[in-house]
């Protein structure tokens, strides 16, 4: 058997793949956080809850209406995005003039409420969501066995990340968003409806989280706690990357996912905390984060 650093190649590649998949979710989620933070200056603690909502939306749509995975991939983000926009319009928007900490505390409360409700309704244990038949099974790549769905997740999340990046960097809407990040008053004076832009941004951010949730549903179990388990790690990712740049969030997400996967190969006991350790080291050496501009 081929060995690499004293580890069987298959185990190595298997963990690398798992790392890549976790990294895809970290990237998608930290991207959404960065988009929201960029414009609203709010750290969306409810991001994990919205990710969970996406997975639940997919599962419930399948259970009650027989709506397939493919439609869920479109509709779940829209539903959660609308819900996010509603929250932003009615409540979150009242906090913009205050210390940003209040936004964090508000969304923390929102996350607790959503999570508590789903735990009350569906219990804490996870529920399975079947892999869509078109993506079931796997292929043998010769050096390792690749479940097709996992490959699909890596590809799709990469496409979604790049798509969001293009939306923000290359389109007219994106240019409004970036301008409003720099100077909202001036942008409003040019006739752009900034409050609507803010609502839209929060909706898109929440939708992205839900999209990640649908993607995650067949891999992890659909459970009310899936969001809070991942969101703290994503916070660490965001601290490492710095929220200054969208691309930074994406790259850091993948990097840390892979770092976590590799730690599982070489020193499994530390795999839970490796991202936090990396965060601490980055803070000591480069407090602004790897891609951060603000101190």
């Amino acid at each position: 058997m081929t060995m690499i650093f004293g580890i069987p190649l298959q185990a190595f590649l298997g963990q690398l793949l798992i790392g890549l998949i976790n990294g895809s979710f970290y990237a998608l989620l930290s991207l959404g956080l960065a988009v929201i933070f960029g414009l609203l200056r709010v750290i969306n603690f409810a991001h994990g809850a919205q990710y969970m909502l996406g997975a639940f939306a997919a599962m419930l749509m399948l259970q009650y209406f027989g709506i397939s995975y493919w439609f869920a991939l479109i509709f779940a983000p829209i539903i959660v995005g609308l819900f996010g926009a509603f929250i932003e319009r009615t409540m979150l928007s009242r906090l913009y003039n205050l210390d940003p900490l209040y936004g964090l505390l508000f969304t923390f409360g929102l996350a607790l409420t959503i999570e508590g409700t789903f735990r009350y309704l569906y219990g804490s244990s996870g529920q399975p969501y079947a892999v869509p038949t078109q993506l079931a099974g796997g292929t043998n790549l010769g050096f390792m066995f690749l479940p097709i769905y996992r490959g699909w997740v890596v590809v799709v999340s990469l496409v979604a990340c790049i798509g969001t990046w293009l939306l923000i960097e290359k389109t007219k809407l994106g240019s409004y968003l970036r301008a409003a990040t720099e100077n909202p008053v001036l942008v409003q004076a040019f006739g752009v409806n900034v409050p609507v832009l803010l609502t839209l941004t929060y909706g898109i951010g929440a939708g992205l989280a839900a999209f990640a949730g649908v993607l995650a549903a067949p891999i992890y179990q659909v459970s009310p706690l899936m969001g809070s388990n991942i969101i703290i790690v994503v916070f660490a990712v965001v601290v490492v990357g710095g929220m200054g740049s969208i691309m930074g969030a994406i790259v850091t997400g993948y990097m840390l996912g892979i770092a976590e996967g590799l730690t599982k190969v070489f020193y499994p006991e530390a795999s839970n905390i490796v991202i936090f350790v990396i965060m601490a080291i980055v803070l000591l050496l480069r407090p602004a984060g790897l891609f951060g501009r603000d101190a």
Binding site: L101, Y102, G109, A111, T113, G116, F235, A236, F276, L283
Partner: protein
């Protein structure tokens, strides 16, 4: 700034005289209540309340008086609970030394976490403390001495100073009360010391404090360690009260809970967190028997507080007409 507007209405000396009079009356009434309370209430409940009240006040030292929102205070509370439980149970330490070990351990954890976290401000600070405390949670989950999911159980309460039997709940109650009062006096002295004044100036305007020549980072770290040590005091005592230390106390939900207590009672008021803790603990006790999850209520209260009620109960009272008449002023 609110100081200025209120002072104009009444001469300052007269106001503060009324205020100290009111304070004295409330303080005496509060002390009498606390001493007599075990006659009317279940002692364990009261002790839990006092522990959480001290925990929330320690947390408020950081949020209310230094302006730093830590999302990782469960580490100090729960960490100290583990340390105290371990040394009392496994090494046979007497309770006073056990609690002291918890305090020192929490202070050291605070030194490490604070050293890393003060490199960033505001929401980054909150996220970093949250991440580091999650790291400590995983450490506790895997470490040998914490006994994993079981936690450290049946911790003996022992004899205080060798002759006061703490297994009697009345003795235990007055021990907890004494610790609580000592903790409160320390906090009160701390925020009214020159050190505390500098912390407030950092909260109000960090750049100006720097320009006046204060080493802001060092003061922040000092406040962080102080707050961690006091949170550890509360955690260590809690381990003796309940005779166990578990993962619940180091989980992020606990950090959220203490934020809620402080927010609900009044950020930046000395006694607000006590009321906040009282409300939250009472609510939890009340809901413990029903199957309705506490998280939903906690979350909703959080949202309502942030949206409508940012001064908290005591803050609103101070700012109300009655509160002002009694001579209180609301800062912040």
């Amino acid at each position: 700034m609110s100081d200025m507007t209120h002072t104009a209405a009444k001469p300052r000396a007269e106001r503060s005289a009324t205020a100290s009079m009111t304070y004295a009356i409330f303080l005496t009434a509060g002390l009498i209540l606390l001493v007599l309370a075990p006659l009317f209430f279940y002692p364990i409940f009261l002790m839990k309340l006092l522990c959480f009240a001290l925990f929330a006040c320690a947390f408020n030292l950081l949020l209310g008086y230094t302006g730093l929102l830590s999302f990782g205070h469960a580490t100090f509370f729960g960490g100290a609970a583990y340390f105290t439980a371990h040394v009392v149970k496994e090494w046979g330490f007497p309770p006073e030394l056990g609690v002291l070990t918890g305090v020192v351990g929490a202070a050291l954890l605070g030194l490490v976490m604070g050293y890393v976290a003060i490199r960033r401000q505001g929401i980054y600070f909150a996220m970093i403390t949250l991440a580091l405390s999650q790291m400590f949670f995983f450490f506790c989950l895997q470490a040998e001495f914490t006994k994993g999911e079981d936690g450290i159980q049946s911790v003996p309460r022992g004899h205080l100073f060798g002759f006061i039997d703490l297994s009697q709940s009345t003795n235990m109650y007055y021990f907890v009360l004494a610790v609580f009062l000592i903790g409160m006096v320390v906090i009160w002295r701390f925020i009214n010391s020159p050190f505390g004044m500098i912390l407030k100036s950092i909260r109000e305007n960090e750049a100006r404090a720097t320009s006046l020549g204060y080493s802001v980072a060092r003061y922040k770290l000092g406040a962080f360690v102080m707050s961690a040590a006091l949170a550890g005091l509360a955690g260590g005592v809690k381990a003796l009260v309940f005779q166990f230390a578990t993962l619940t106390d180091v989980a992020w939900q606990m950090s959220g809970e203490v934020i809620l207590m402080t927010l609900l009672g009044g950020i930046g008021t000395l006694i607000g967190p006590i009321f906040g803790a009282g409300l939250v603990v009472t609510l939890q006790n009340y809901l413990a028997t029903s199957d309705f999850p506490v998280t939903i209520i906690t979350g909703v209260v959080f949202m309502v507080c942030v949206l409508l009620f940012r001064r908290g109960i005591i803050g609103e009272f101070y700012a109300s007409r009655l509160g002002r008449k009694l001579g209180f002023e609301h800062r912040r």
